[in-house]
């Protein structure tokens, strides 16, 4: 049935989008760094998983144990040595955002350059857990379902961490107003660095998991960055549950366009959806309206 053929694969694709957007929810939504090198970090993690799998025979799920702490450390260093200075220099939030966009734009080309040197421009893929299962008449691959489960699990864990813990509350306070957070005794720079680094860890999770079923090359990071941005803004900046739902919506819309219109126009559909959200509800589907 056509409807199931769109909805189920759409949900699975959407789960992947939610997964790749979770890290950006933390980095942009909470730490307020608009990270343009996001997609490149994701692809770098995918290459890492590929190398571990083909070189050492390490399964991608085990690779997570290596990739996540490593990405956490790298992102923490990136924040401490580059971004923190910009955060201190910027007069207001928009100046900080512009500066962080520019610096991460530079970082994008550094990461991409390193990957091009190491892997060249060709496409890579490997096969892991690509077992077909039939759900309600649609054929789905197990590895994609694993990614969907991870997305839901991590999304809920991040949501609970942000709303139910002391640290999470402090992080949300920074997202609302860093100066006010400072006044109530929150160490803004170390906590922001921590949140940014956690976001980096989630990027690595996304990258490793999508490498199981996606074909990727060194210069396709921009597509992931844009999709993650669309999901984050659609869901409402800093809203983890919103990002999950927005990811699923995006997945269904893209699958529908690919099935019913033309697979070459999925990116155009993404942008159209993005613009529609921005024009109708600039605070996102679940963001609070500005007063």
């Amino acid at each position: 049935m056509l409807l199931f053929d769109i909805v189920l694969p759409g949900l699975v694709l959407g789960g992947m989008y939610a997964l790749i957007a979770l890290g950006l929810t933390l980095q942009y939504g909470v730490a307020r760094v608009m990270n343009l090198s996001y997609g490149e970090s994701l692809v770098a993690a995918a290459f890492g998983a590929l190398s571990l799998y083909t070189g050492l025979g390490l399964s991608p799920l085990a690779a997570l144990l290596l990739a996540v702490p490593f990405a956490f450390l790298l992102n923490w260093l990136l924040y401490r040595f580059l971004l923190e200075r910009l955060m201190r220099r910027g007069k207001d939030r928009s100046a900080q955002e512009i500066d962080s966009i520019l610096v991460t734009f530079g970082v994008l080309f550094v990461i991409q350059g390193i990957m091009l040197v190491a892997f060249g421009g060709q496409y890579y893929s490997y096969s892991y857990l690509s077992i077909a299962v039939v759900v309600l008449g649609s054929t789905l691959a197990v590895n994609r379902l694993v990614a969907l489960l991870f997305a839901a699990g991590i999304g809920i864990a991040v949501y609970i961490a942000l709303t139910r813990t002391r640290m999470g509350t402090a992080a949300r306070a920074i997202a609302v107003d860093a100066n006010a957070a400072r006044l109530v005794g929150i160490d803004v720079s170390s906590l922001s660095a921590l949140v940014f680094a956690c976001g980096g860890g989630l990027v690595a999770v996304g990258g490793v998991l999508i490498s199981m079923f996606l074909t990727f090359n060194a210069s396709m990071g921009v597509v992931f960055t844009m999709k993650a941005l669309v999901v984050v803004i659609m869901g409402g900046v800093g809203n983890v549950m919103g990002a999950l739902v927005a990811g699923l919506i995006l997945g269904i819309v893209e699958t529908a366009v690919a099935r019913l219109v033309d697979p070459g126009l999925t990116l155009a559909a993404t942008y159209a959806l993005f613009l529609a959200v921005l024009l109708i509800r600039p605070t996102g589907l679940f963001g609070r309206a500005p007063s």
Binding site: L82, D99, F105, F109, G113, V222, M226, Y271
Partner: protein, 557 residues
């Protein structure tokens, strides 16, 4: 004409002659280098024209460049060359208009994000078109134009982009752009139609980019989407403009020349590590040289051209009629059914405890908020639903409770922005004189050239008043303008407002300083929880038991 000036002209003319004659004595390699410098100069200057003053960083240079190149590839074989260039310009303007109309109304960050993805979007659409309509990706472009001609076309285009940038900088739109970059809300309330100014300049800059793409297209012979839409070009343009300094017309050139030479060396010696080094250089530039080598933005602009006379206005009846105005924020009625009239030359006070809806009411009068119900008539125009800049131009000016000055602009420029976009733009040359008079009136005469961000809080409030007055308003809204002043400053402030009234100005003031209300207002309105609970002469109103209860609470509270 002084001797140095004659010398300057001679040197300039000699340089121009050398630039024009360059292809006659440069060999292939040096000609190619000259072409690279020229086309990056055009792109970086066009980029800085829009993104420099507004700080709307556009990452979409290659989207327009590639569009132009592709237009040339598609039409180049069949159409005469000038038609091809014109088609590229029109297409660039069209795409810029569509992109701009949908994203420039939003805050800067969304524009940046969208521009980041725009090149990829257009690239995929072009691929889709080529696969489905043209049935093959990639085109050959054989052109009879030599490299010399290509060079001269670029030289002409570069001259055009500098002339356009120079004219823009001299016009009031140049100042408007910088005002938008400094504080878009304040710019709107100074009478600037921010969206239109941004859109116009964005289109202009995009046209230059797409024509450059068309001119450059014959250089490749074979064009496919990955050549025409190479994101590296956007990146290089941003680096060059930022290194040179995006805030001034000739700043980007200072970045283009050294970086083109550096790129030449890098691609020759380390072709595989080019992108890594480029990224690292860029990070360094952003960290170390936030304003580029040209340093601080110089304060330049001259008196602008003028247009139009002041519109004829209906001078009878009350100046402002507010009728049944209300505003709800999802269930919370911040202002409920408020009606009042303000006569010409009157000072009306609006008082009430915090949270009673006073600022919301002012925001509706000045257009910052849209009323949920009711009507507002100003003179003979219904202004509910008009955008802030329209209301400002009709002659209704305001100050903000939390001051909003455009902090990077000087004190004089803050006032000038409002002067040039107000109801009646002054005749040429008058701007400086008028802004001096206004600044003297509020006591800021000596600080004309100080950046507004460096003023103390009190002085920023004075500046806001001067900026409001520069619109030559018929009605001024003062939102707690006297708050936070010390007793002697308060006295000066009250005297200043009284002087405005004596000059025939109509004023609505929201204030907690009751002495000022008593001294200045002929009439006042008391609000509590969104509604008017009392109105009349200040002394009577302030002793009304309902008003006392609203401020101090009931006996049993």
């Amino acid at each position: 004409m002084g001797r140095t000036m004659i010398l300057g002209w001679c040197v300039g003319l000699a340089l121009a002659a050398a630039a024009i004659a360059y292809p006659l004595y440069a060999n292939g390699y040096y000609l190619a280098l000259g072409i690279s410098i020229l086309y990056f100069t055009i792109l970086a200057t066009a980029w800085a024209m829009f993104s420099g003053p507004t700080r709307y960083i556009s990452l979409a240079t290659v989207a327009f460049f590639g569009l132009g190149a592709y237009t040339a590839a598609v039409l180049g074989e069949t159409m005469p060359w000038p038609v091809v260039l014109l088609a590229a310009a029109v297409l660039g303007a069209l795409v810029a208009a569509i992109t701009g109309l949908s994203t420039l109304r939003l805050s800067g960050i969304y524009f940046v994000i969208f521009s980041f993805g725009l090149a990829e979007l257009i690239r995929q659409l072009v691929i889709w078109y080529e696969v489905n309509v043209h049935k093959s990706v990639g085109r050959y472009l054989f052109s009879a134009l030599t490299q010399d001609v290509l060079y001269w076309q670029l030289l002409g285009l570069m001259t055009l982009v500098f002339v356009a940038g120079w004219l823009l900088g001299r016009s009031r739109y140049g100042l408007a752009l910088r005002a938008i970059g400094a504080d878009e809300t304040a710019a709107g309330h100074s009478g600037i139609d921010a969206t239109r100014v941004k859109l116009g300049v964005f289109m202009l800059s995009s046209v230059f980019m797409s024509v450059t793409g068309a001119v450059m297209a014959p250089r490749w012979t074979y064009i496919d989407p990955s050549i025409a839409f190479n994101p590296m070009i956007s990146f290089q343009v941003v680096i060059m403009a930022l290194l040179g300094g995006a805030g001034s017309l000739f700043g980007p050139v200072l970045g283009v020349v050294p970086l083109v030479l550096l790129f030449e060396v890098l691609t020759a010696t380390l072709p595989n590590h080019f992108s890594i080094l480029l990224g690292a250089i860029f990070v360094l530039i952003v960290m170390m040289l936030p304003k580029g080598v040209i340093g601080l933005v110089e304060t330049w602009w001259c008196a602008a051209r003028t247009d139009g006379a002041a519109p004829v206005r209906n001078e009878s009846g009350p100046l402002l009629v507010v009728d049944g105005v209300g505003k709800s924020f999802s269930g919370l009625r911040a202002v409920d059914q408020v009606s009042f009239e303000v006569a010409r030359g009157e000072i009306v006070g609006i008082i009430g405890p915090n949270g009673s809806g006073k600022t919301t009411l002012l925001n509706m009068l000045s257009g910052a908020l849209l009323p949920s119900s009711g009507t507002i008539r100003f003179g003979d125009v219904m202004i509910n639903g008009l955008r802030p800049y329209r209301i400002a131009r009709l002659g209704l000016a305001r100050t903000f409770q939390l001051v909003r000055v455009m902090s990077d602009l000087t004190v004089a420029e803050n006032v000038a922005a409002a002067l040039l976009f107000g109801a009646a733009p002054p005749v040429s040359g008058n701007t400086t004189e008028t802004s001096r008079r206004l600044l003297d009136a509020v006591g800021l005469g000596a600080m004309r050239d100080t950046p507004a961000g460096e003023l103390t809080y009190i002085d920023q409030k004075r500046l806001e008043l001067a900026r409001a007055l520069a619109l030559e308003p018929r009605l001024v809204l003062l939102d707690e303008w006297l708050a936070g002043l010390n007793p002697s400053e308060l006295e000066t402030g009250i005297a200043l407002i009284a002087k405005l009234r004596d000059g025939g100005m109509t004023i609505i003031m929201v204030e907690h300083v009751m002495d000022a209300i008593r001294a200045l207002c002929s009439h006042c309105i008391v609000m509590n929880a969104g509604s008017v609970i009392a109105r009349g002469v200040p002394d009577e109103v302030l002793s009304d038991p309902k008003v006392v209860a609203a401020y101090l609470g009931d006996d049993d509270a």
